[in-house]
């Protein structure tokens, strides 16, 4: 089976198609960040690195970066705005209100 492409494949005819419905490309090409009305922003002064936002993000468009805080290993959430749809789950779930929002400007 061919390895998955990161570019969307457009089938011109059945000759290009596999015989069954099977994913031949990743969804990376589909930049859903453009769907966003409201932009979530993480206030790292308040963030406790609990990673609840990362767990709840359905897209998922929150990545984790390994950092050291007071000699301890922590995971810092970073929002990927290429894919974040602005659904609001992260800022609803954040237990310390460390995610605030801004209207997307045009």
């Amino acid at each position: 089976m061919p390895k998955k492409s990161e570019v969307k494949i457009i089938f011109e005819s059945i000759k290009d198609m596999p015989p069954l419905a099977v994913s031949l490309y990743t969804m990376d090409y589909n930049k859903t960040g453009s769907w966003r009305n409201v932009r979530p922003i993480i206030d790292y002064d308040k963030c406790t690195y609990c990673t609840i936002c990362w767990k709840f993000c359905p897209e998922p468009s929150i990545d984790l970066e390994k950092i050291e805080v007071d000699g301890k290993e922590k995971f810092k959430p970073i929002i990927n705005y290429k894919y974040c749809k602005g659904c609001g789950i992260c800022w609803t779930e954040c237990p310390v209100d460390a995610i605030y929002t801004e209207e997307e400007s045009e």
């Binding site: 089976m1 390895k3 998955k4 089938f11 005819s13 059945i14 198609m17 596999p18 015989p19 069954l20 419905a21 099977v22 994913s23 031949l24």
Partner: protein, 384 residues
Amino acid sequence: MRKVIIGNHALSYGAMLSRAQVIAAYPITPQTEVIELLSEMCANGELDAKFIKVESEHSAMTACVGASATGVRTFTATSAQGLALMHEVLHWAVGARTPVVMGNINRAMAPPWTIWTEQTDSLSQRDTGWMQIYCQNNQEVLDSVIQAYKVAEQVKLPAMVILAAFVLSHTSETVEMPEQEKVDEFLPPYELEYKIDPDDPHAFGGLTGPDGYFELRYIIQKAIEDAIPKWEEVGEEFGKLFGRSYGLVETYKIEDAKELIISSATVASTARSAIDYLREKGKKVGLLRIRVFRPFPAEKVKSLLSAIDKAIVIDRNISFGASGIFYQEVKAACYNEKNKPPIFGVITGLGGRDVGKKDIIDIYEYVMKQDKVESDIIWKGVRV
């Protein structure tokens, strides 16, 4: 080597000789012996397969489809209500292009509760895309399982090997057992291009919009059309290795026939003895047994019917509100032909009522007195 075995065990041996790797099944009368024997074979090491016990036929077929999609050979068997419960997943097996092979014991549908034979259970699944092979004896059951894997894996469509409840399933018959080495030569290991593989993850059967679905259906129709010559080729190749050839249809004494009796499975088998009797009486009658019902051998049927005066289709099944189902298919195949005989449709033997030689002779003699087709159903043997 010859063995005397019941039809259900012919299915089991067919799966064993084909080296089925995953078997998932749920017991139902009159299929139970199929999986009893296979589970024994798995337990005693005779068959190197994973036997998955499931809680329903729906799950049995689901397990087979899932396993088949990983690139292993799968087998299951069921009957009547069990087949009906599988219905949703039968479509899935076709759409997912998984060449599952299944035995179905033709049993009439309930209510009233019944365990005896009739073909309406499998014929109700005719539009799913499953290939359907109707067998006339236990030898053909065993041989057809092996051939079914070969065709199914080439065209990537599932196949149902079908036998009559009790008339074959529980009848002991002489069966020539194919040698394992020859079966291995005939049936190469199953290879699948698009398969579930954790090292190369893909999503299967995901949402497909109107821009793709239509083409996928077109491809399935082309694949099942490709299966028409494949069943002939594979049946001939089987004959070269094992001395028993098979095709889409089987004919008997048709050379100078003016009339043709058309039927399937064990009714067609019994019809041979009626043909012998009628031939002795000087009647020019032959037999056409439809072995492969899906894909439907329309070209064969058309050409065989072009030169005769009367055709009689005997159905052990019914599509309520229409007629016998083989009758519909034969009639539909011939409709656009210039040369076609009147085609009479007979329904008999529902719910396992015995169909004997005399019944078939009676049917023939009744039809010979008819000038034209008055009704789509001639009922034989019903007490009205």
